[in-house]
């Protein structure tokens, strides 16, 4: 999860052959060439496992997915492996589908709202825990629990809590004299409910990354600022926030990609329902491919491609922003 970068110095150029005579020089350079070749082979041997790994687990599935989305697969041609090439048909079908609009809108709302709240709450908690008060480590560890729980456990728990008949959330509302809310059964609330659960799950990730970013801000800056009479808010605005910008950017990008593809949480809590009021591109893709008795692999894969494309666009956007910051 953490982004590690190893910058090694380039290998020094092969030592030039010493000596004055031509023959001797030719011999030396042949030796150097052989030397260089074995070196290159060794390098290749080191890279090979990675390349094989990338090809087997990244390139091939990606290629297969693209292939699925560009062919007209029925169950028969899926088994026989002779599905005809159908160009953009699957994409056209998906874009024309009345589910597409709502699914796209839900995906965007789900992703953006989740990220904003995860980031703001994560940052607030990170700043809070940066103060090193008593028990702060224990408390911080407790905040990591959502991250440690298997998703099926937390999603089922949220689903029980939000149950409209016997859920603890409605019970609390009842104690406060508020009418019960159909958290997962009303089309107006289902998306909100899954977003709330997703925010809760995403906070620890933001907290951890931003907290580690805070550790890298030199304490002298704060000392100097307070000598100059800067208040807490000013210190946060003028020092903490600007210096956290690179960490924030990568946190937001990773958060975005993770949130775009969230599937299990929604599937466990609402299955995209009621109706399609909480369906996102991810759940819809699964629904198409595996959700009914008759799988529709082509359109399902097409929706998957669209998701990748969206993530890619944001990835490129991140790179641009990064460039501008470094320039």
């Amino acid at each position: 999860m953490a982004v590690a970068r190893v910058d090694r110095p380039r290998p020094a150029a092969a030592a030039p052959g010493a000596g004055g005579e031509d023959g001797e020089r030719a011999g030396a350079s042949a030796l150097a060439r052989r030397h260089r070749r074995t070196r290159r082979l060794t390098a290749l041997a080191f890279v090979a496992p990675l390349v094989v790994y990338l090809a087997a687990f990244y390139v091939y599935p990606l290629y297969r997915n693209l292939d699925l989305s560009l062919r007209d697969y029925t169950v028969r041609s899926f088994v026989a492996g002779d599905a005809p090439f159908s160009g953009w048909d699957n994409f056209r079908k998906v874009l024309d589908d009345p589910t597409f609009g709502p699914a796209m809108r839900h995906t965007m709302i789900f992703t953006l709202v989740s990220i904003v709240f995860q980031y703001v709450i994560g940052l607030a908690l990170a700043v809070f825990f940066d103060r090193h008060f008593r028990l702060s480590t224990v408390l911080r560890a407790l905040f990591l629990i959502p991250w440690l729980l298997p998703l099926i456990v937390s999603a089922s728990t949220w689903s029980w809590m939000f149950n409209s008949e016997s859920g603890v959330v409605n019970y609390l509302l009842h104690l406060l004299g508020v009418a019960p809310v159909g958290w997962l059964t009303s089309p107006n609330w289902a998306l909100t409910s899954v977003i709330i659960a997703n925010i809760w799950i995403g906070i620890p990730f933001n907290l951890v990354i931003l907290h580690s970013g805070l550790q890298n801000i030199p304490a002298e800056l704060y000392e100097a600022a307070s000598l100059d009479g800067a208040g807490t808010w000013q210190q946060f605005r003028r020092i903490t926030f600007p210096l956290l910008r690179p960490v924030s950017a990568i946190t937001l990008l990773l958060g975005l990609v993770y949130t775009l593809k969230v599937f299990d949480l929604i599937w466990i809590m609402t299955k995209g329902g009621p109706g399609d009021s909480s369906s996102t591109l991810a759940t819809w893709s699964y629904q198409l491919g595996f959700g009914t008795l008759l799988p529709r692999f082509g359109p399902g894969a097409a929706v998957g491609d669209i998701l990748i494309l969206i993530a890619l666009v944001f990835g490129l956007l991140y790179i641009r922003v990064q460039r501008r910051q470094e320039a």
Binding site: V79, T185, A282, T292, F297, G304
Partner: protein, 416 residues
């Protein structure tokens, strides 16, 4: 240099993390069988709840021994089995014998991976027409039903008598709704069922849909609207809880088992749990709109023999299938699985052994296959639209009419 490297990193992070999703699209599964080893025959079923030491596990092993081979049994989750079968067939390593949920049979036939029972020489003449119907396409059967289960209404005797309702008086929809009203007035809860947005939701809705006289090729007919209006009216009036939208048949059963509900729509497979519920219960058939029993959908698996390259294996496969499904052995198989047998002779034996099964046998007699009547692989598309319509109507998003109208046009578009 550094910059491009970081760019690459960001881009690959973006792509990489999405891969877990796309891998579903085209992943192939090699964890299947590698059958052809001498005397080992592979057998798949959707009963992960039964391990090798269970009565069912022992039965399967025994049938292998009788056929002179070792049976390697693998149990998958029922929702998983259809896709697993397709993938295995694509890789050319389908199991020798496979038990699948009946509506999946037509999908697998469409994929061309099942043998006709007539080609294998299996005798299916004694099996009730409506039960084998789900696995019959263009007049040919593609599997042997091991048994059938179906839906009926469980009722809580105490809740009904406290509310002054006589279960025998429930003959049609209006008497049922009247009973629910009385139960609610007595401070108890009316009825629970499953209206979840999966196949289970359609399965539970069908008795009402068919009970109104609805036809699956015309979801938005007046009959279809009547059935959905009945459910919606129950939810709106508080006779049924809002969370039916999330209920699977298991969670719906758990609600009924709390003892607060008068009725629960559920299946044969809950009989064992019903005895443990701690209150007296009864079972009535689901009423049709204007009286009589509603046609209910059949549940239950078919024993099928997938196509193999090595046709020499069929002889032994046939022996295994016969061992599990022949008239003489059905009683044992169905008692093990708590299914109603697919032949009337065995049904009579079952009722003699356990009188509780009586209403279930009559329900099965009136049952229909979901994919029967030439629907075949059109059914999955229709079913998906149907459960979506049920969800949007019950959640209050749409009226039953407009929900079913949307469903009908989407179903027509989807199957074209």
């Amino acid at each position: 240099m550094i910059r491009t490297r970081r760019s690459l990193l960001a881009a690959s992070a973006a792509i990489g993390t999405l891969l877990s999703l796309t891998a579903c699209g085209g992943g192939s599964d090699s964890a299947g069988s590698s059958g052809s080893a001498g005397g080992t025959y592979t057998f798949w079923d959707p009963y992960p709840q039964f391990d090798a030491s269970s009565a069912w596990g022992k039965r399967v092993a025994e049938c292998g021994t009788k056929a002179g081979v070792t049976v390697k049994r693998t149990a998958y989750d029922t929702t998983d089995l259809g896709n697993k079968a397709l993938l295995a067939a694509q890789q050319g390593n389908a199991p020798d014998v496979m038990m699948v949920d009946n509506p999946v049979v037509s999908t697998l036939v469409e994929a061309g991976i099942l043998n006709k029972t007539s080609d294998l020489g299996l005798d299916t003449s004694s099996i009730q027409k409506n039960i084998i119907g789900a696995g019959t396409l263009d007049g040919s059967a593609y599997g042997v039903p091991i048994g059938a289960n179906t839906l009926a209404l469980y009722y809580n005797k105490k809740v009904l008598s406290d509310a002054g309702v006589d279960a025998a008086s429930i003959k049609d929809w209006s008497s049922l709704t009247a009973a629910l009203k009385k139960v609610k007035a007595a401070g108890k809860k009316g009825i629970t069922f499953s209206a979840i947005n999966t196949e289970e939701g359609s399965f539970q809705f069908l008795p009402w849909f068919w009970g109104a006289g609805g036809d699956l090729t015309q979801l938005d007919s007046g009959q279809g609207v009547a059935a959905l209006t009945l459910w919606k009216q129950w939810v709106d009036a508080g006779y049924a809880p809002k969370d039916v939208l999330q209920n699977t048949q298991t969670t719906s059963w758990q609600e009924f088992a709390t003892g607060d509900y008068a009725f629960g729509e559920n299946g044969t497979w809950q009989l064992g749990n019903a005895d443990k519920a701690g209150f007296e219960y009864g079972v009535i058939n689901i009423p049709a709109q204007k009286g009589g029993s509603a046609p209910v959908p059949t549940g239950g698996e078919f024993v099928t023999v997938p196509v193999q390259k090595d046709t020499g294996r069929y002889d032994v496969s046939k022996k295994i299938v016969t061992c599990l499904t022949s008239a003489a052995n059905l009683l044992a198989s169905d008692t093990t699985l708590t299914y109603v047998a697919p032949t009337s002779a065995v049904q009579t034996q079952q009722v003699a052994q356990n009188p509780e099964l009586k209403p279930w046998v009559s329900a099965v007699a009136a049952a229909r296959g979901r994919t029967s009547g030439g629907l075949g692989t059109k059914y999955p598309t229709i079913s998906q639209q149907m459960w979506t319509a049920v969800q949007s109507a019950l959640s209050g998003g749409k009226s039953p009419e407009s929900a079913l109208k949307t469903a009908q046009s989407a179903a027509e578009k989807g199957s074209s």
